[in-house]
C-alpha cells in the first residue's frame, strides 16, 4: 500500500479529522478465567488493509470473531460505521468473514456458494446472477462455476471463499489466515492478488496472520499482538524500523539483541553493555530512564564489516568470524564478540566475489551509524 513519489500517501490514521470505520475501545474477552483479549483498543479506517499479527494462540481469531459477531466482548465496545455492535447478531452486520477453514458449503456448487449470501438478501434472480458472474470474474473462476467444492484445488477453494465473502459488498471483510493452507509459492502470488482485489473493491480488509512476511507485504498497518495484548500498531515500515519493544523487534525480521543498561540520553540514547567498552549509541525506541535495563536492537543489514578499525564510527566492536553463510544475493557473517554475544551481519554481494576476502576465525570490525540501532526498554 505504500505509495511513493508525488502520489498522496494513504494514511488516514494520521489525519485527526478522519473518522474510523471500526472502533475497538477497551475490549477484553474472557473465556472462564482465561483472558484471551486484554483491554485492546484499535481504530481501523476505511479502505485499510489491516493485519493482526501474532503467534498462534495470541487471540487474533477471537478478536476477529468479535468483529463478526460470533463472540461478544466481556468488556469494552466495538462500533462499526458509528453503530454500536453490542446487540447486533452476525447475520445483520455489514461484515463478512472468510473462514480459516474456508467453510464452503459442500453440497452447493461454486456458483451457489457465491450466490448464497445474495439470495438471503432477497435480490432478484438477475441481480444475483450478475453479481455472481462479477465475482467469478474477479477471482478468475468462471469455468469452475458448476463444480462442487471437493472438485477444485485448494487454491481455487480459497478464491471461492474470498468471492463468497466479497459478494455482498461488505463494509468490512475479515480474513482469518486466508492463505494458511496454501503452499509457499501460491501464497506469495495470492498475497498480491488479495492486495489487487482489495484495491479494486475498495473494501476495508482485516486480515489475521501469524506470518510476519505476509503481514508486511499486504498491510497498510500491522497490529502486533502477544498473549491477548496489543503491543504495537503501525505501518510495516515503522514496525520494522522503529519497533517499540524487544518483542516486536524480535518478531519481525532478523535482529541482533544486546542486553545492557541505559546510559546518557541526549540526541540519541546510550546503552552500557560491557565493562570497559564504549557505550553503543542508538535511537530511543520508547520512553527510557537512565540506568534501567535495556536492549540494543540492530538489524543485520545495517552493520558494516571491515578488516581495519573504522575510526569514524562510534558504534564499533571487534570480534571473530564464527560462521559465514553465502546466500547468493547476500552473505551473512556470524561474529562472536569477546564479551560473549554473537552478532549477525548481512552484506549484499553487489559484484562477484566482492568481500569474500574474510574467512573463518578472522578478526574483524563491525560498525554501524548512530541512528541505525534502537535502544529498547527491557
Amino acid at each position: 500500500m505504500a505509495s511513493s513519489g508525488q502520489a498522496e500517501v494513504f494514511a488516514p490514521w494520521e489525519d485527526p479529522n478522519e473518522v474510523p470505520l471500526i472502533k475497538i475501545a477497551g475490549v477484553t474477552k474472557r473465556f472462564g478465567d482465561f483472558t484471551a483479549i486484554d483491554n485492546v483498543s484499535i481504530d481501523i479506517y476505511r479502505q485499510e488493509f489491516f493485519a493482526l499479527l501474532g503467534p498462534s494462540g495470541c487471540g487474533k481469531t477471537t478478536l476477529m470473531r468479535m468483529l463478526a459477531g460470533f463472540e461478544t466482548p466481556s468488556e469494552g465496545l466495538i462500533s462499526i460505521d458509528g453503530q454500536d455492535m453490542g446487540a447486533v447478531p452476525p447475520n445483520q452486520r455489514a461484515v463478512n468473514m472468510m473462514f480459516q477453514s474456508y467453510a464452503l458449503f459442500p453440497h452447493l456448487s461454486v456458483w451457489d456458494n457465491i450466490a448464497f449470501g445474495l439470495r438471503r438478501d432477497g435480490l432478484s434472480k438477475d441481480k444475483v446472477a450478475a453479481r455472481v458472474e462479477e465475482m467469478l470474474k474477479l477471482v478468475q473462476l468462471g469455468q469452475f462455476a458448476r463444480r462442487k467444492p471437493h472438485q477444485i484445488s485448494g487454491g481455487q477453494r480459497q478464491r471461492v471463499a474470498l468471492a463468497r465473502s466479497l459478494a455482498k459488498a461488505p463494509k468490512l471483510l475479515l480474513l482469518d489466515e486466508p492463505l494458511g493452507a496454501l503452499d509457499k509459492k501460491l501464497r506469495q502470488e495470492t498475497q498480491f492478488e488479495l492486495m489487487d482485489i482489495q484495491e479494486k473493491t475498495g473494501t476495508t480488509f482485516v486480515i489475521v496472520t501469524h506470518d510476519q512476511e505476509e503481514a508486511m507485504t499486504v498491510a497498510s498497518r500491522v497490529a502486533v499482538m502477544d498473549h491477548g495484548q496489543l503491543i504495537q500498531v503501525a505501518t510495516p515500515e515503522v514496525i520494522y524500523e522503529q519497533p517499540n519493544s524487544v518483542y516486536v523487534a524480535d518478531f519481525i525480521g532478523d535482529v541482533n539483541l544486546i542486553e545492557g543498561a541505559v546510559g546518557a540520553i541526549g540526541d540519541g540514547a546510550e546503552l552500557l553493555w560491557a565493562e570497559g567498552r564504549a557505550a553503543l549509541m542508538g535511537q530511543p525506541g520508547a520512553d527510557l530512564s537512565k540506568g534501567s535495563k535495556a536492549t540494543f536492537a540492530i538489524r543485520p543489514e545495517k552493520i558494516a564489516i571491515s578488516a581495519e578499525e573504522p575510526m569514524d564510527r562510534r558504534n564499533r566492536v571487534q570480534g571473530k568470524i564464527l560462521d559465514i553463510g553465502y546466500l547468493g544475493n547476500l552473505s551473512t557473517y556470524h561474529v562472536e564478540l569477546p564479551e560473549g554475544p554473537v552478532v549477525k551481519c548481512e552484506v549484499g554481494n553487489r559484484s562477484r566475489i566482492e568481500r569474500r576476502d574474510f574467512t573463518w576465525e578472522d578478526e574483524v570490525w563491525l560498525s554501524w551509524s548512530d541512528t541505525a540501532g534502537l535502544v529498547l526498554p527491557g
Partner: protein, 295 residues
C-alpha cells in the same frame, strides 16, 4: 488369500440367501398337499430323466393368480406399505432431534449417548415388545400414570390398535434412524453454520439450508433401514396390533402356520421380496453416492 476373502461374502450370500430363496421360489410354484412336506411335487431323482420332466411340468403360477384374485392380499401389501411409510416418517421425526442433540453434545458425552442408543439391543427384542404390552395395556403403566395425574378419567385403549404398532415400530427401529443421521451430523463442520449466519441466514434458515441437506444421506439411509424391515414386520403387529391391523407379515405367518398352505405363503413372500427390491436398490445407490462424496 485375497480370493478367499472376496469369496466369503459371496459364499455367505449363496448359502444364506440364494439357496433359501430358490427353495421358497420353488414352493411358491407348487400345489398344496396333505403330506410332509405339505406340497407337491417333490423331486425324486431315482425316477430318472422323465421324472424330472414331469416334476417341472407340474410347476405353475396358480398361487400368484390366486393372490391377485383375492383382495385380502393386495390390501395387506398396501396396508403394510402405508404402515411402514408412516412409521418411517414418525421414526425420523423422533430420531432426527435425538441425533442432532447427540451431535451437538459436548464431545466427552457422545460415546455415553451412543451407548444409550445401542443399549436396548442387549436384551431380547421379544422381551422389549412384551414390556410395551405392560406399558400400553388398559391396566398398564401409561394408563395408570395418566389416570393418576388426572389427564384422563377412563383408561385409553392403545394396545391392539395401529397406534400401539406405530409406537412399537418407532421404539424398535429408532436406533437404525439415529445412528446414520448422527454420523452425518457429527462430521459436519460447525463453521459452516457460522458461515451461513455470516452471510445473512437466521439460525432456522441455516438449519434448513445447511444442516438438513448435509444430513440427507443419513436421513435417507436411516429411512430405508427402518422402512425395509418394517414392511415385512410380523412380531410387532401380532403382539401389539389388533384384529384391525393388516400387515403382510401377519398374513404370511397365518398362511404358513394356521392354514399350512406353504405354496401360497411362499408366493406372498416372493412378492414381498420383489417389492423390497426397489427400496433396497435405492438404499444401495444412496450409500454408494455417500461413499463417493466422502472420497
Amino acid at each position: 488369500m485375497r480370493r478367499l476373502l472376496v469369496g466369503i461374502p459371496y459364499l455367505w450370500l449363496l448359502v444364506l440367501f440364494l439357496v433359501p430363496f430358490g427353495i421358497v421360489a420353488k414352493i411358491s410354484l407348487s400345489d398344496v398337499a396333505i403330506a410332509i412336506p405339505p406340497y407337491t411335487p417333490t423331486l425324486d431323482l431315482s425316477g430318472g430323466w422323465s421324472a424330472i420332466r414331469a416334476y417341472f411340468a407340474e410347476l405353475d403360477f396358480e398361487n400368484f393368480a390366486f393372490l391377485a384374485s383375492d383382495d385380502l392380499y393386495w390390501k395387506a401389501y398396501l396396508s403394510s406399505l402405508k404402515i411402514a411409510a408412516i412409521s418411517t416418517f414418525l421414526t425420523l421425526l423422533v430420531g432426527f432431534p435425538m441425533a442432532y442433540a447427540m451431535a451437538r453434545a459436548p464431545a466427552a458425552w457422545r460415546p455415553a449417548l451412543l451407548m444409550l442408543v445401542i443399549l436396548p439391543f442387549w436384551t431380547s427384542f421379544l422381551i422389549r415388545v412384551y414390556a410395551w404390552i405392560g406399558i400400553l395395556s388398559t391396566e398398564g403403566f401409561l394408563n395408570q400414570f395418566l389416570l393418576w395425574i388426572g389427564v384422563i378419567n377412563e383408561p385409553l385403549t392403545i394396545l391392539n390398535t395401529n397406534l400401539a404398532v406405530y409406537i412399537g415400530i418407532v421404539y424398535t427401529y429408532l436406533p437404525f434412524m439415529i445412528l446414520p443421521i448422527y454420523s452425518t451430523l457429527e462430521k459436519m463442520d460447525g463453521s459452516l453454520l457460522e458461515a451461513a449466519e455470516d452471510l445473512g441466514c437466521s439460525r432456522a434458515q441455516a438449519f434448513w439450508l445447511i444442516t438438513v441437506p448435509l444430513a440427507r444421506p443419513g436421513i435417507i439411509a436411516g429411512s430405508f433401514l427402518v422402512f425395509i424391515p418394517t414392511l415385512g414386520e410380523f412380531v410387532i403387529p401380532s403382539l401389539l396390533g389388533g384384529s384391525g391391523t393388516l400387515m403382510i407379515g401377519k398374513v404370511l405367518w397365518e398362511e404358513f402356520f394356521n392354514n399350512r398352505d406353504w405354496p401360497v405363503a411362499s408366493a406372498v413372500a416372493i412378492i414381498l421380496l420383489l417389492i423390497l427390491i426397489i427400496p433396497i436398490v435405492l438404499f444401495q445407490k444412496n450409500q454408494q453416492r455417500q461413499a463417493e462424496a466422502e472420497k
